[in-house]
Subunit: 412 residues, 2 copies
Amino acid sequence: MRAIIISVGDELVAGLTEDTNAAYLARRLGELGIEVAAHHTVGDDRRAIAAAIASAAAGADLVLVSGGLGPTADDLTRQALADATGCELTLDSRRLADIEEFFARRGRTMQPANRIQAMVPAGAESLPNAMGTAPGIAARLGNASVVALPGVPHEMQRMFDDAVAPRLAGGGGCIVRREVHCFGEGESDMAGRIADLMERGANPTVGTTVSGGMVTVRIVSRSASRQEAERLAEQTVVTLRQRLGQLVVGVDEQTMPAAVGELLRRAGCTAATAESCTGGQIGWMLTSVSGSSDYYVGGVVGYCDDVKRKLLGVSQDLLSRCGAVSEEVAAAMAAGCRRLLGADWAVSVTGIAGPAGGSEKKPVGLVYVGLAGPEFQAVHHHILPGSREIVRLRASLTALNHLRLALVAKER
Amino acid sequence: MRAIIISVGDELVAGLTEDTNAAYLARRLGELGIEVAAHHTVGDDRRAIAAAIASAAAGADLVLVSGGLGPTADDLTRQALADATGCELTLDSRRLADIEEFFARRGRTMQPANRIQAMVPAGAESLPNAMGTAPGIAARLGNASVVALPGVPHEMQRMFDDAVAPRLAGGGGCIVRREVHCFGEGESDMAGRIADLMERGANPTVGTTVSGGMVTVRIVSRSASRQEAERLAEQTVVTLRQRLGQLVVGVDEQTMPAAVGELLRRAGCTAATAESCTGGQIGWMLTSVSGSSDYYVGGVVGYCDDVKRKLLGVSQDLLSRCGAVSEEVAAAMAAGCRRLLGADWAVSVTGIAGPAGGSEKKPVGLVYVGLAGPEFQAVHHHILPGSREIVRLRASLTALNHLRLALVAKER
């Protein structure tokens, strides 16, 4: 099966709004084993949309269109689809009732303009929108299925899940998606460990994506029964945990800050941060989780040596002798922070984020991570590649990962 | 003039890599007054690329292609362009010398595979790449100009500046771009103040984009002489500064953290941060600027009340009486932080980032910003819309903006 994705919107064509829908749909189709041949983006122009749909339907089995289903004069996907299929728009009274109810539930009256949203080309099917007023449309054009989805990402995603994915799921109508977040190894090394699971056409399908040093393994299982699809996906999660061991940070919503938080919560422990080159990024990450005040007490950004000395108790002798970016100072920062803030654990980072400040002995990217915990202390060092921004991001994630591994080891 | 943009790459079609090139090129063309009719994304497939180029050239005056110019077997834009134009690939010896020199400068030997990069369809022009090994190609196909650019964003952008924009600049061969970063008002309000400057077809062209609460006004001037283009752009920068006053944070590279840093540097002052709901984000932003250790000493993340009390000296009485999210606590955090870290200025933030923790009197999004400086103290409050992530981002930028305005006022 071959698919083409069309995005509709003047703002997208002008580059003023980022199109996340096309990439999202492409990934979802890929997970279902459907090859995407091309994406097209066209403006709010009825003829251009109709031409794009007709041309795509001539070269693909499946055409997914997003955008242009709103109630205003520049929303023209519905009309263009009618033009392309050569069918008149007709009213779907069930959808009209849905839209009226959507407004009624919010204590508002439906505007006449919204009536157009209940129209579909004759013979096409209207798809309910669980999140908004714009129903989708499923039509046939030649040998192709054409599905028009709303442009608002969360509405589009929900409709894809509810009405599109099940039809595409081959033998099984139920699809379960899981994500396993990993850290500590490159994508190609990780993919090597699970190559057999990543074979094309397998069920579940398994693939990897990378973002900011985190490698996420995506699992998609299909089956006629939800229970079986869930079992298949869970089985793969278990296999991945066995194969990847401590590289696995967490599953689904459990990204790095949530995973560290969960370990702290389980241990009944608190944590604090002492940051130099990351400037507060680790604290910011930990507090991205709602409820993190249960285990994160706070931190010190010791950007200048004076703060490292006065607040964190790093001695001037150590700073002069070893330099602010050193194993010794990282250890002292963590120990001092733990003492100062009265936390069970403290993690520290000191490093050279660049682009200036590097030397032959201490190059840009050199980062020390210090850990202090109950009868525990350690310092790790890394040389991280990339721009100032990337070095800092990786340093923060690396620091959290060391804290995670220390907490995991304590659990055993 | 009508343009179509084509992006080439299997990773893009599969949605695994974000395509930033198409939107970038669309914005740049828009600034030059060139209408973009559509974007197309195709995989690393010679026939598909050739078909996309031929079809685009039939419907547009200008076709910009990015990607597929590398030296490996899956880089096929060069061959596809030869197919589309019906011309054989021939060697451009000048470009071959460029590529050999690129490797020689890095002490490396050119691999035979790179030789293909010096090939262009007969009759087409090879465009030098100032940042990498992949030259671009400018060709004619029917009535359209087709320009192939490398896929690596910074190489593509530089080549667009050097070789494409000047040809498209109409009367004037020189183009000057400036950016004016603003904060404190919504995009539509701001656009209202400068509507006359934003008229289509003007020189310079003026447009706005928004990202994370910052509104950036983009200026593009065109003239036969660089000096005149620079004068026109500078004149518009001056006009914008007059119209927008203190909404203007900075120009070009001077985004919020750099603007605050420049003001501190000019005043010979240091600053410190006391963060609760932002968890370290303000410190992280300030230290995104290389050299920020000249004026940023560090900070305290006082996420739990205990740290606010012990480190920042906020009294238990105040915390009990007013609550951690209050004008009084914001003021005490800033004053305590300034004292503790011995900085000239301190900025504090305490608020309710959500989604939990809101009440009728103190809703999610309520944020207090405290400032303490030389004979100066102030507290501002805001109710910021959006998700936890967005509230925290806006709170951090708002805090830096208050510090900026206080520093500007002191300069007068």
